[in-house]
Point group: D2
Chain length 367, copies 4
C-alpha cells in the first residue's frame, strides 16, 4: 500500500533507506510565493544530524539537502518540491551478523513477514534515517506557519526517570544542551543517568513535548480528522513512539471535571481566552486559539550492546550482541522530528480549515 | 472538509446530531459474502446505550439500528451498507441557557469559531451520540475480523485514581459490572469513588484498554500508515480522549532497552513468538503476530453540576451551571467505542496488507 | 474497496439499490451557512424522476428526499448532510427470468465475477436508480456554486443520429421538451426516431453537454487533479457513459493548431478573455475564466425487448427477452445527473483552489 | 493542493519542471519481490524521448533514469521507489519573449492566475516533460501486470484527418514507423500531411488507442471508482488530451441497443466470453474478462510558428511568434504516456480488487 505519504492539501511523500543512495521527500501542495531556500531546510536537518554529542551515533553524514524542483526565483511555485539528501557515509559493513536473525525491538521480523525479505543494511527503510524526509518536509510546514504568525517548538521533557522541573523551564536552554532539555539542571542529571546506562551497555526511553503558538481558533475537523487525532497519527508514526498525549493526557484520566475544565475568560485583548490549558488548546478536535500542547513517549533504543536472546530466519533460538553505532537515547535527535511533523500537520489542517464557512469563501472569491 | 470518513479500503462515513432526526453511518468496502443482520450491530449498540446504570445518562433511547442497503439474502453484497438509528427521546429542552454561552471543556466555542454558529441542541455533532455511527460500523469490522479468526476486546482499566489489579484480571467480569472493569474489586472501589464525586457535582476521567488477538504478522505499513499510527488516529478521534498508548506506552519512556526489548523465542508451534510484549504487538508499525494492546485516556465529563466561570457569545464573563442528564464518567460507555474503532481500523489495515507481496498476489490471481 | 465516495474537501458517499429500502447520500464538507431546504434538492430529483414522458420508464416513484442531518435553522452547519429517498414502488417482480442469466450490456456478469453473487432485483446497485444519491448531493454543489456566482446547465445535444442545430440553440427550450434538447425541431425529429426504435423493440444512445459559467480562472490542479481530469472521472462514472469530451474534444484531434488555439484578447471589462473557446475553458488543467464545456456519450439502453443471445450462470448459451419498464434512451433523464455531478466536482475543486497562493492565505487569516 | 499523486494502493507522485534540475517520481505501494532494474524503466522512457524523428523536437536529452531507493538485490522491497531523470539539455534560452505574455493554447495565463507567477522556462511544470515521471512510474505498473499475465499496448489511430485502416492493423508496425501507427500506409499518408502542416508553420491533433489483454473479470469498483472512470481520469490528466472513449465511445451514442449490446457466449475454454466488444471490456465499471479498449483525443500542439494574437501580463493585446523546438504533433510521443498511465491505473485497480470477496480473503489468510 501507499503508506509513505502524509497530508490532505499539503502532503509529503518520503522515500529512501539507511544504506541506499539517499533519502528524500516530495512536498506537494505548498502554496505559491513562499520564499524558500536550502538553508531553510538545512537548519532543521542539522538538528537531527548524528555526531553532535556523545549520546548520538558517531556516523558522520553531511546530510546536505538539495532542492530539485518547485522553486523559481527564490519562491515556491505551487508545484511539487523534491528534496534529496545523499547517503555519504556508507561503510561497507559486515551485515552477516544480522541479516539472518531478528533483532529484539527492531522491525526485522515484521518486515520479513510482510515482504518476504528485507533490506537488512542498517535497518533499511525502518532506520531512524527515514526521518530525514520528514524533517525536510516539516521545515517547509514550519516556514508556512511562520509566514502566518504561528510558531512551533519541541524539546525533551524527560529521559528515563529524569524529568524537567517546570519551574526552571527555559525554552532557549533547549539549544544549549545536547539533550534538548529546557532545564539545564535536569539535562545534567540526565547526562549522568545516560552515562551510567552506556557503561552497562543499555539504553533509555524518554518524552518530548511540542507546543504550537499563534494558531487561530477553528482548525481541525470535528469527527475523524480532529486536530488532535491527526497529531496523534503524525506523532505515533515516528519510529520508537509508543504514546501520545494532548494537554494533560493521561493526567486528565486521573483528574476530575472541576479541575480539568478550562474556564473561558475575557482575554486582555477583549477576545475569548482560557484561564487554564488542561485541554492542550483543542476542544472537540478543533483549536481553541490557545497554545497547542502535544507529548510523545519514546521507547529506549532497541540496539543495545548486551547479549540478547532471539530467533534466526531458520527458526532457531540464538544469542546476539548488536554491533555498530547507536544512540543510547533517541529523544534528543527525535525532538526536531516531533517539531517538524507537528508543524507540517498543523499547516495542512490550517489550509483545510479555510473552506469551513460560506461567508468567508464568498469574501475570498469576491476579490 | 470531509472529515467524517475513516478508512482506506474499508471505510465508514458517519453523520447525525444529538437532537436531529437520527444518526447513522455508511460502511463502504465491506467484502461480499459476510453474513450480516441487524442483531450483529445491535448487540454492540446496546453496550453503548444510555440508561444502563446509575453512572450513565438517564436519557432513554431505544437506539434501534436499521440496515437500509448492502445486504441481500442475509449476506453483504460488497456495496455500501447504510445504517440508521433514529433519535426518539428528544425532549423539547430549553436550550436558552447554553445557546449563547461557551460551556467549559465543551466544543461550543470552537464550533462557533469554525462555523460561525452551531447546532446547540445537546452538543449537536460534538455530542457523545456521534459515536452511534462509529459503533455500528465497527461492529461490521469486528464481524469481518471474527470471520478471519481475529478477536477484539476492550475494558476499563482505571477510573480516576482507581486502577484494576492485573493479578485479578478476569476478562468476562467486564460484562458483569456496569463500569466494564475486568476486576470486580476495583469496580467496587470505583463505584464508591464515583458516588462521592457525584455528590460533589463532579465527574471523573479514566482509562480503557483494547486487545486484539489472532492478528497475523505483517499488518500495518512502515512509515505514515503504521498500524499503531492508525490506531492512535482512530482512538484519539473519539471524543474526550486525550492520550493513547501502545504496549507499555509512557512506561516505555521510563524504561531501559534491556528491560523493554521483547526477546524472540521459538513458540510452542515452532513459529516465531515473543517472550514478552512490551511492544504491544507492533514493531516498526507492523503487527508481529502477538497480541495488540492499545490504551486510551479519557478526560472527565466536562458537564458537571457545579457553578463554572465562562464567557458568552457577547464576550461577557458569566457564571453557569449545566443542567441535563450527564454521565459522571464516559469510560464505561466509551469502551465499546474503543473496541469497535479498533476492530474497524484493524480490519481495514488487514485488507490493505494483502497487496504487499508479489508472490502472494500471483497466487491469488492464479485461481 | 471504498469506491462509493467522491470529492476531496466536499465529498459525497452514496448508497442504495434499486429494490432495497431506499437510496441516499451523505454530503460531507459542505461549508457552514448555506441556506438549504429539501426543496433545493427536490427540484433536481424531479428532473431525473421516471414517468415524465413516454420515453421514460413508467415506474412511479415519488422520489421524495428527506434531509436527516447537517441543517440547523435552515442553514448548513458544516457537518455531514445525510439524505434519503425511500423506494416506494417495488412491485414484487418475478426475477426468476434474470437472476440466473447475464443480460447483454448489463453488469450482471461482472458483479457475479467480482462479488460471487449479486442483488439481481432491478440491477441492484448497478441500476440507474443509483444516481438518486448523486443528484441529491450535486444539488448541494450547485447551490454552493450559485452562492458564488457560478451557474451550471446541461442538456441533450444528440439522440442517435439526430443532433441539435447550434444555430437554433435555445437553453430555455431544454425544459420545454421531454428530451431536454435546446432545439425544438431536433427534439421533434428525435421523438420520431425514438418512436420508430421503440416499435422495433430497440433503444438509442445519445450525447449530453454541460456548461459552467462564472467560474474564476485558477480552478484545477496542474497534474493529476486537472479540472478536466476530475470532470472526466466524474462523468465517466455515470452509468452508460462511454465517452467524455472537453471543449472541442475529438474534434480537436482532427484540427490544426492555428484553428484550435484560442487567442487571448482584452475583454470588454479590461480583463483577459478569449476570442474563441475550443479549449472548453480549461488550459493545462486549470480554468481560464471562460465557459467550461463538457460532453458525455451515453450508450443505448441495454434493456431492449428483442430476443438476445446470452449465457446463464451454469455457462449454457440461452436466448432471453428482457421484460420490465425501461427507457429507450437514458440521456434525457441523465442530463440532470451530468449537471449535478459537474456542479459538485467544480464546487469541490473551487474549495481546493483556495490554498494555492500564500498571499491570499495570509489575507484570509488576517481577518 | 496535493494534485501530483495518482493511485490508491499503488501510487505515483511526480515532480519536476522542464528547465529545472530534473524530473522524477516516487512510486509507493509496489509489491515486494518484483525483479526491477533501470533498464525496465529506460526502455519506456526511450519511447517518449525527443529527437527520434523529424516530427519530434530536436532537443536532445539522454533522459537516463536513476533508481534511488526501494530495490535490494535486484528486487523491489515494498518500500517507495524513487526515480530521477536529470535535465541535461538546458540551453540558456532567452525567455524574454514569453515570460510576460500568454501563449495561446498554453497554460501560461492559468498558471499566472492560479499561483500569482510562473516558472516560464519551457513551460515549467506544464511542459510535456512532466510526463517523464508518469512514464517511469507506469513502466513499473506494466512490469507488475506482466508478472500477472496482463499486457498493455498503445498506438496512434489517427493524425488530423488521417485514420488507420482496421483491416490493415498490424500491432508490430507501431514500432516500425515514427508515428507509432499500426498501419504503414496510414503512417505514410500522415507523414505527408504533417510535412504540409509544418511548411505552413502549423500543427496537428490526433488520436491514440490503448488495449489491455489478459485482465481478469472483476476489476473496477461499481460507482465512482469504475475502471473506466479511473482510466478517463488518468488519460484526461495527460496534457493536451481533450477527449476519452471506452470501447465504441461516441460511436455508441449514435448506435442502437440491438447493435451495441455484446452477446455473451460460451468461449472456447468453456468460460463466459463475448461475441463482440462494443463495451471495450468494461460493464458497470467492472472488467468483463475481455480486452479493455481506451482512446484519447489529443489537441494540436499549441506551439506553432505562425503569428498569433494574444495579451501580455500588462493586459495589452500583442502579436507573437513562438520560437523554439516543438513537435507538430504530440501523439507519437504521447503513445507511451497513454500506455504507461493505463498500465499503472489498471495495476492499482487490480490490487484494489483483491478485497472484494470474503471467501477469497479467508483463503488468502489461511496460508
Amino acid at each position: 500500500m501507499a503508506g509513505s505519504a502524509w497530508g490532505t492539501l499539503l502532503t509529503m511523500t518520503t522515500w529512501g533507506e539507511s544504506h541506499g543512495k539517499g533519502l528524500g521527500v516530495v512536498v506537494d501542495g505548498c502554496p505559491a510565493g513562499l520564499p524558500l531556500e536550502e538553508e531553510d531546510i538545512q537548519k532543521y536537518l542539522d538538528r537531527r544530524k548524528p555526531g553532535q554529542s556523545r549520546f548520538a551515533t558517531r556516523r558522520r553524514e553531511g546530510d546536505q539537502v538539495e532542492i530539485l524542483s518547485g522553486i523559481f526565483q527564490g519562491k515556491t511555485t505551487g508545484t511539487p518540491i523534491s528534496m534529496v539528501v545523499k547517503n555519504t557515509d556508507q561503510r561497507s559493513h559486515d551485515y552477516s551478523g544480522i541479516k539472518d536473525l531478528y533483532r529484539p525491538g527492531h522491525a526485522d521480523y515484521t518486515f520479513d513477514e510482510k515482504y518476504g525479505f528485507r533490506d537488512y543494511r542498517g535497518g533499511g527503510r525502518s532506520s531512524g534515517r527515514e526521518t530525514v524526509g520528514r524533517v525536510a518536509a516539516g521545515a517547509i510546514g514550519a516556514k508556512i506557519l511562520e509566514n502566518l504568525g504561528v510558531t512551533v517548538a519541541a524539546y525533551t521533557t524527560s529521559i528515563g526517570p529524569v524529568e524537567i522541573d517546570r519551574g526552571r523551564f527555559d525554552l532557549e536552554e533547549r539549544f544549549a544542551n545536547s539533550l534538548c532539555m529546557p532545564d539545564a539542571r535536569a539535562a545534567e542529571e540526565a547526562r549522568a543517568y545516560l552515562d551510567r546506562l552506556m557503561e552497562e551497555g543499555d539504553s533509555s526511553g524518554g518524552v518530548a513535548e511540542c507546543v504550537v503558538d499563534g494558531l487561530p481558533a477553528g482548525v481541525g475537523e470535528p469527527v475523524f480528522e480532529k486536530l488532535d487525532a491527526r497529531l496523534a497519527h503524525a506523532v505515533m508514526s515516528i519510529g520508537a513512539v509508543k504514546g501520545v498525549e494532548i494537554g494533560d493526557g493521561f493526567g486528565a484520566a486521573r483528574s476530575s471535571g472541576s479541575l480539568n475544565n478550562d474556564s473561558f475568560v475575557k482575554g486582555p485583548d477583549g477576545r475569548v481566552a482560557k484561564a487554564d490549558n488542561h485541554a492542550g488548546g483543542i476542544l472537540g478536535g478543533i483549536s481553541d486559539g490557545g497554545r497547542i500542547v502535544a507529548r510523545a513517549a519514546f521507547k529506549p533504543t532497541p540496539s543495545i550492546s548486551r547479549v540478547q536472546r532471539t530467533v534466526n530466519r531458520q527458526g532457531q533460538e540464538v544469542e546476539t550482541v548488536i554491533k555498530g553505532r547507536h544512540d543510547p537515547i533517541v529523544v534528543p535527535r527525535a525532538v526536531v522530528v516531533l517539531e517538524t511533523m507537528t508543524a507540517f500537520t498543523v499547516a495542512d489542517m490550517l489550509l483545510v480549515s479555510m473552506s469551513s464557512r460560506l461567508d468567508r469563501i464568498q469574501e475570498f472569491f469576491r476579490r
